[in-house]
């Protein structure tokens, strides 16, 4: 086994995550390579010391601080809901109700778009094309009327 591969396996070996074959190959390498053996020993010391790292605790009053902040946040949300409710003259305290009303409005908008939009989409010509075509028809009608008037003038 090469040192590079052995070094990659050392960390997992420390955590006993290697299979039997890998373990045997690595242990054989560690017997032969002092540099890798040294790395293995140092990693073991680090892992052992990490488990013994000092555990710290927050102060007792922290929970009170968190509770106060939750209270403030809830009061703020309640005031906001109450103001909206007064504005619309009906209570919007319930989030579900607000979502239902928004959903209904969105549905109405979509239905309106669907109702008026589909005939436009189904028509072959786009709106600008349709306008141009109407203008041409109007010009053609005036042209025909002019020719007719000219003919009548010549005849009489």
């Amino acid at each position: 086994m090469r040192c590079e591969k052995a070094q990659r396996l050392i960390s997992d070996h420390t955590d006993k995550l290697l299979n039997r074959h890998q373990t045997q190959a690595l242990e054989q390498h560690l017997k032969e390579c002092s540099a890798c053996k040294e790395l293995f020993n140092e990693i073991q010391v680090i892992v052992r010391e990490a488990k013994n790292m000092k555990s710290v605790l927050p102060s007792e009053k922290l929970w009170t601080g968190i509770q106060n902040q939750i209270d403030r946040s809830e009061r703020k949300n309640r005031n906001w809901a109450s103001e909206i409710g007064q504005f619309f003259r009906f209570p919007l305290y319930s989030r579900e109700l607000a979502f239902s009303v928004s959903g209904l409005l969105a549905g109405l908008v979509l239905m309106t778009l669907f109702y008026y939009g589909i005939p436009l989409i189904q028509n072959d010509k786009s709106i600008p094309e349709q306008l141009a075509s109407n203008q041409f028809a109007e010009v053609d009608r005036h042209y025909q009327l002019a020719i007719e008037a000219l003919n009548q003038a010549i005849l009489f």
């Binding site: 140092e42 790292m53 710290v56 927050p58």
Partner: protein
């Protein structure tokens, strides 16, 4: 010396027989039950505080950060759909907050760690080593620090870390290896 069980976060909620209890507490918490919130706070405070402390390297900043994390947890818990993901979600929230706080405060800013250990004359060498370990951890990049703290300090498995960090187990293993190598490098430099 602290036992491994004490070091792992949320010990009261661990084990399959406690799962039902945890789900019940989460549901109560989603309904805004203050007692349930306190239950969750009591079970996670130590584990999360040890994380925030090692990111901020300062007791007061660590407490402020822990307070922000719990506010995020209690406001975000209503949106949590699967209680099974609660533990991973809590730690993900905490680590994201820690990384964000580190970015704001600026990487590489060194705050004295005198408060970690008061020198004990009988174990001066050991105390120095512990202090160097703390410093070495403080110099790790944010994500390697998270893996090292969760795996080596708090006893998480690679599978649990993968769920918290949304990584593969392989990535968790390689990040841990890099973290350990960096700590080793730092300690070697110190002793030379």
């Amino acid at each position: 010396m602290k036992s491994q069980k004490e070091k792992v976060g949320s010990t009261a909620f661990n084990g399959s027989n406690r799962k039902e209890f945890l789900f019940h507490v989460i549901r109560r918490c989603q309904d805004g039950d203050r007692k349930a919130m306190e239950e969750i706070y009591s079970n996670y405070k130590s584990s999360l505080f040890n994380l925030t402390y090692r990111y901020t390297r300062n007791m007061s900043s660590a407490e402020d950060l822990l307070q922000d994390i719990f506010i995020k947890i209690f406001t975000g818990i209503r949106k949590l759909r699967s209680p099974e993901a609660f533990n991973a979600w809590v730690y993900r929230t905490a680590i994201n907050a820690c990384i964000s706080a580190t970015r704001k405060s600026g990487r590489g800013k060194i705050i004295p760690l005198n408060e970690i250990n008061k020198p004990d004359e009988a174990e001066v060498e050991n105390v120095h080593f512990k202090l160097d370990m703390e410093k070495a951890v403080s110099f790790l990049p944010s994500k390697q620090k998270a893996v090292f703290l969760l795996h080596d300090v708090q006893g998480f498995t690679h599978g649990e870390i993968a769920r918290v960090m949304k990584w593969s187990e392989g990535t968790s293993k390689s990040q841990l290896f890099k973290a350990r190598m960096k700590i080793r490098g730092y300690l070697k430099d110190k002793r030379l």
